[in-house]
Amino acid sequence: MRGDGWGEGSPNRAFIMFRLLQGKVLFFTSLSLDYFHLKHSACAKQSLLLEYTVKILKLCGLTQVRWSRYGPEYQDPQIDKEYYRKPLAQLTEEETYERELRKTQVIKAAPATKTSSVFEDPVISKFTNMMMKGGNKILARSLMTQTLEAVKRKQFEKYHAASAEEQATVERNPYTIFHQALKNCEPVIGLVPILKGGHFYQVPVPLAERRRRFLAMKWMITECREKKPRRMLMPEKLSQELLEAFCNRGPVIKRKHDMHKMAEANRALAHYRWW
């Protein structure tokens, strides 16, 4: 149920989550409050489908969620090892302040999917979770590893088959290919259905960062699931799509371009957006 509610997705969606800056007592200005009031009135204008009204506490660092087992004062854990190994002399004033503040805060338990391992990648974890069906994380993760292996194998074949000059251009690290492919698939602008005068108009709207990432991953997965030949396995198809997206070709990139074209076509409706 967590998400950045500020201007993301459909305005009829009713989840409002707001995480205030953690403990920045010094920087708690009237600006944040005015923003809150603005957003609040904007949401009040919409149809009040507020399924889950979240009470937003003005005190810094407290987010109250209705059904969380943790209290509002619990902060998210910081798992990065390097954050702690940094010597105190090199810290800026802000960082020292933040360090001191964290000592007084209660911290949630680290989730089971996160470790301090070097092999862990948040994008890969998110993609694995999206691929998962029915809670079968073991299968999803194995598919993911097989995909990355397939990508690596294909690239190595290409590498060995290429001439000396071309070998420098062939990218063999599957993680960079994965990240670059998803980045290439991210749309810049999206369409949102807005109800005006009894009709729903597709209005072009700028997308938040995480919405873009989500759409790229979602398109990739749906494309691989639906357009797969019957006997082909998911890792093979996914590796194929990733390599094509890496080279800015393929159906997912086409879908992104279609989205952009639609947005361009509907740009007259852009003033329907009020946020």
Binding site: P77, I79, A109, R141
Partner: protein, 396 residues
């Protein structure tokens, strides 16, 4: 600043600490302890275990109007309480002079054993200040003219406090200007213990002023105080600001680190226990080893065939750069594979605390390794198919 109010203190309802201010439906003579006429007060405020925003039960408006307690009534209650305390001390065979509130509580639980699960429903005998909510005495004289000049604002204490604070701000700014004019002004920031203390929360302020405040009022007040604290203040102003700050404990001090134990061979070891959902684990971490982990007599590679679980076992050691340096023997029962892994991780982290420095313990705490995960399976509710899933809605 605060208007003359009837002296009734209530237990401070810290939102952070989730204590409930409880007082019950008034029933005459229900929990009469020994010789004292104990009467409990008003409505009940329920705080759900799952940290939902506080919800009050539907108020009986007519009953609320009868709530005003006169000064004499409260005085009588206090006298009765004191007499009752002395009787109780005599009954328990203790000295009435040195009978503290804790002794009173113990005596009451002994004399009135209650099997009720709700702790707040059990018999209590507390000082009337804690039971009856603070109220205001009459704010106007016999001629009907109010005493305070801000009475007609509706929130006289709040506005007079804001007025005072703003006066101080202006005063401080004036002084700052004078210093600047003289050239004695220095830009050094004040070393205030901003982290060791926090501002009052809204409930605490409401209780202090004996007045209802809105969120905007509270935010406005805090902004003004921050503005005041940012200016160079003298001792009186610092004291004024200090009245609205409360100290915050440093979290890591709450952990008790067990000392190392030594077995017959002289090898240092330490035990730790961990829980996750319904899994319980106990881990023994040895000081010197080769990174071998044995769970219920089985090697960890065989016990946890899934990579994710093994990564969880590796997490505390990798975090502290002690990957191949310790041997672990653990026992685990209950739960599923993931919760067993989580339980063992917590047990190992706790055991490791004995081997490392205090700073590293604090790092582990901030990485979330030392917190028991409170998430458990949510129960199924009647009228629904699962915990959240509702039955299929059928139009007819």
């Amino acid at each position: 600043m605060a208007a003359p109010s009837v002296s009734c203190g209530a237990a401070v309802p810290y939102r952070l600490f989730l204590a409930g201010r409880v007082s019950f439906a008034r029933e005459q003579g229900l929990w009469k302890a020994a010789a004292s006429g104990l009467q409990t007060g008003t409505r009940c405020q329920i705080l759900r275990l799952k940290h939902s925003p506080a919800v009050t039960t539907t108020k009986n408006v007519a009953a609320l109007r009868r709530e005003s307690y006169t000064v004499d009534f409260i005085k009588k209650q206090i006298e009765e309480f004191n007499i009752g305390k002395r009787h109780l001390a005599n009954m328990m065979g203790e000295d009435p002079e040195t009978f503290t509130q804790e002794d009173v509580d113990r005596a009451i639980t002994y004399l009135f054993p209650s099997g009720l699960f709700e702790k707040r429903a059990r018999p209590i005998m507390k000082h009337p200040e804690e039971i009856f909510p603070k109220q205001r005495a009459v704010q106007w004289g016999e001629d009907g003219r109010p005493f305070h000049f801000l009475f007609y604002t509706g929130k006289q204490s709040y506005y007079s406090l804001m007025h005072e604070a703003y006066g101080k701000v202006l005063h401080a700014e004036e002084r700052q200007d004078q210093l600047r004019a003289k050239g004695l002004f220095s830009e050094k920031s004040k070393s205030k213990d901003l982290i060791g203390s926090r501002w009052l929360i809204k409930e605490e302020l409401e209780e202090m002023l004996v007045e209802k405040l809105s969120d905007q009022d509270y935010a406005q007040f805090i902004r003004l105080l921050e503005r005041l604290s940012a200016l160079p203040c003298d001792a009186a102003e610092e004291e004024f600001v200090g009245r609205f700050r409360r100290t915050v404990t440093v979290q890591s001090k709450k952990h008790l680190i067990e000392p190392l134990q030594y077995d017959e061979q002289g090898m240092a070891f330490s035990t730790g226990q961990g829980k996750r959902k319904t899994a319980n684990a106990e881990a023994v971490v040895y000081g010197h080893g080769s990174g071998k982990i044995e769970i219920n007599g089985v090697d960890y590679l065989l016990y946890f065939p899934v990579t994710q679980d093994r990564e969880q076992l590796m997490f505390p050691f990798h975090f502290l750069d002690r990957l191949g340096k310790h041997d672990v023997t653990c026992t685990v029962s209950g739960g599923g594979r993931s919760s067993q892994a989580g339980a063992i991780r917590l047990a190992m982290s706790r055991a490791l605390c004995s081997f490392i420095t205090e700073d590293e313990v604090e790092w582990m705490r901030q990485a979330g390794l030392l917190t028991t995960d409170p998430r458990v399976r949510e129960r199924k509710k009647p009228g629904q198919e699962g915990a959240r899933r509702k039955f299929t809605w059928k139009k007819r």
